[in-house]
């Protein structure tokens, strides 16, 4: 049996996690992607058993995402997986019809399909009232989508899109509906991959919707219930999208410690110099805080008590600490920090991006303030 053959159901989670670590550390670039084996196992960790997952929960899933990121040192795939798990699978679990779960959710958690969530538009990010994509009923009773979406994570590879569209004027509450739209739907055009400088490997694109007609059972949840779908996706995504960051930070700290032990300046290792030691200790502090926060938040989700305030607090705290952590790296590495092989500028780019996706830092502040009754 190879590591990739180890199934969650056959082995304890710790053993499975060791298998994932083994696989991730050795998988070559060609093998490192979506597919059956450990990646499919990972996608099903937070999915209830009755829906085809292993039901081990959010905490297990976050550990697995962090382990994958730690072993590979790559943020793209763990981020892509997390985006699918929290923004596509979760809405299907919570709102999907039996057919939608059977066709789409089972495809996603066996890695036979890739899923993407499309809410953002050029002029509507956190500002839902500005959403311009519409869906109207035609004479045949089909929903016809018109508009465009952007910043669609996994879009270039996705087989199924969950798309939010406006179905009534006025407030987002009651005015939005979510639709499951397969990639091959007439009128749906998947744009080219958008070039970016962070989260390499997580592929982004835009979508065009021109007379894109879907039948009534494409509605996810109920007509006018898109806001509930969005809130559910965002509550879980904001809480757990940064789970891979704990692994990335752990790897970066291990490498920085090793560098400080071996690099000598002024006749002694960097690790013996107080300024460098202080940087490394601060990094350890950030890592510890991030790990404990993510773990506690995932435990809250497992217990069914994850609220929007906790989700936004977690997103805000982890992204802030990730950036603080990265600020120490140039002082440790000096000029080596800008060499591609150090990976430092890649990590810094990922940290900067973490302040924006799934809602900006400012948006998290607003949500937290509302939760505080301010």
């Amino acid at each position: 049996m190879t590591a990739a053959d180890i199934g969650v159901e056959q082995e304890s989670f710790d053993q499975w996690l060791a298998g994932l670590r083994f696989w991730a550390a050795r998988a070559d670039a060609a093998a490192y992607g979506w597919g059956p084996g450990p990646i499919a196992d990972l996608l099903g960790l937070a999915v209830p058993e009755q829906l085809g997952g292993s039901g081990l929960g959010y905490r297990a899933a976050c550990q697995a995402l962090a382990t994958l990121a730690e072993e590979t040192g790559r943020s793209g795939l763990p981020f892509s997986l997390a985006a699918q798990m929290w923004a596509t699978q979760e809405p299907l679990i919570a709102f999907g019809s039996p057919r939608q779960r059977e066709v789409y959710l089972s495809g996603l958690i066996t890695a036979r399909m890739v899923g993407a969530f499309a809410a953002t538009e050029y002029e509507a990010g956190s500002d839902l009232l500005s959403m311009r994509t519409t869906a109207t009923r035609d004479a045949a009773g089909r929903w016809v989508l018109e508009g465009s979406k952007t910043f669609v994570t996994n879009g270039p590879d996705a087989d199924i899109f969950v798309i939010l569209a406006r179905t009534a004027p006025g407030s987002a509450l009651g005015g939005l509906t979510a639709f499951c739209v397969p990639r091959n739907t007439s009128g749906l055009t998947v744009g080219p991959e958008i070039a970016k400088t962070a989260l390499t490997g997580a592929r982004l694109c835009s979508l065009s919707l021109n007379a894109c007609a879907v039948v009534g059972d494409a509605v996810l949840g109920q007509p006018g219930g898109g806001f509930a779908v969005l809130m559910h996706a965002m509550r879980v995504e904001r809480a757990l999208i940064l789970a891979p960051v704990a692994g990335l930070m752990s790897r970066a700290l291990q490498r920085a410690v090793e560098y400080a032990r071996t690099r000598r300046q002024f006749g002694r290792p960097l690790a013996e110099q107080d300024a460098i030691r202080a940087h490394l200790v601060r990094m350890r502090l950030s890592l510890t805080s991030v790990g404990e926060t993510l773990s506690a938040t995932a435990a809250d989700a497992d217990a069914g008590r994850l609220d929007h305030t906790r989700s936004s607090l977690t997103k805000l705290h982890v992204s802030t600490e990730f950036n603080t952590f990265c600020q120490h790296l140039p002082d440790i590495y000096g000029g080596y920090a800008v060499l591609a092989e150090s990976g430092v500028t890649d990590l810094i780019a990922d940290a900067v991006a973490s302040r924006f996706y799934s809602g900006t830092t400012d948006m998290q502040m607003k949500i937290i303030a509302e939760g505080m009754g301010l």
Partner: protein, 83 residues
């Protein structure tokens, strides 16, 4: 049935979101844009904290949050289920 305290809490929470605009128990909160996506999250948090009701994401629908009266009916249903 939710008690008078529920109605008091709901009225106070909506009044804050209304920021000085006159609101009756029947005012359409969504059409009048008194509740937006952010203030709705604040209202949900307040209902959960002060009234002890659990509001699931699937409950965030116009029929449940369209007016103070509808919110009160929703909270009453939730209270009945919980008891």
């Amino acid at each position: 049935m939710a008690d008078d305290r529920s109605l008091t809490v709901i009225r106070a929470a909506v009044a804050e979101a209304a920021a000085g605009r006159a609101v009756t128990d029947e005012t359409p909160l969504i059409q009048e844009r008194i509740l937006d996506s952010l203030s709705l999250l604040g209202l949900v948090a307040r209902l959960e904290q002060e009234l002890g009701v659990v509001v699931h994401d699937a409950d965030i629908l116009p029929d449940n949050f369209g007016s103070i009266r509808q919110i009160h009916t929703f909270v009453s249903t939730r209270s009945l289920r919980a008891s």
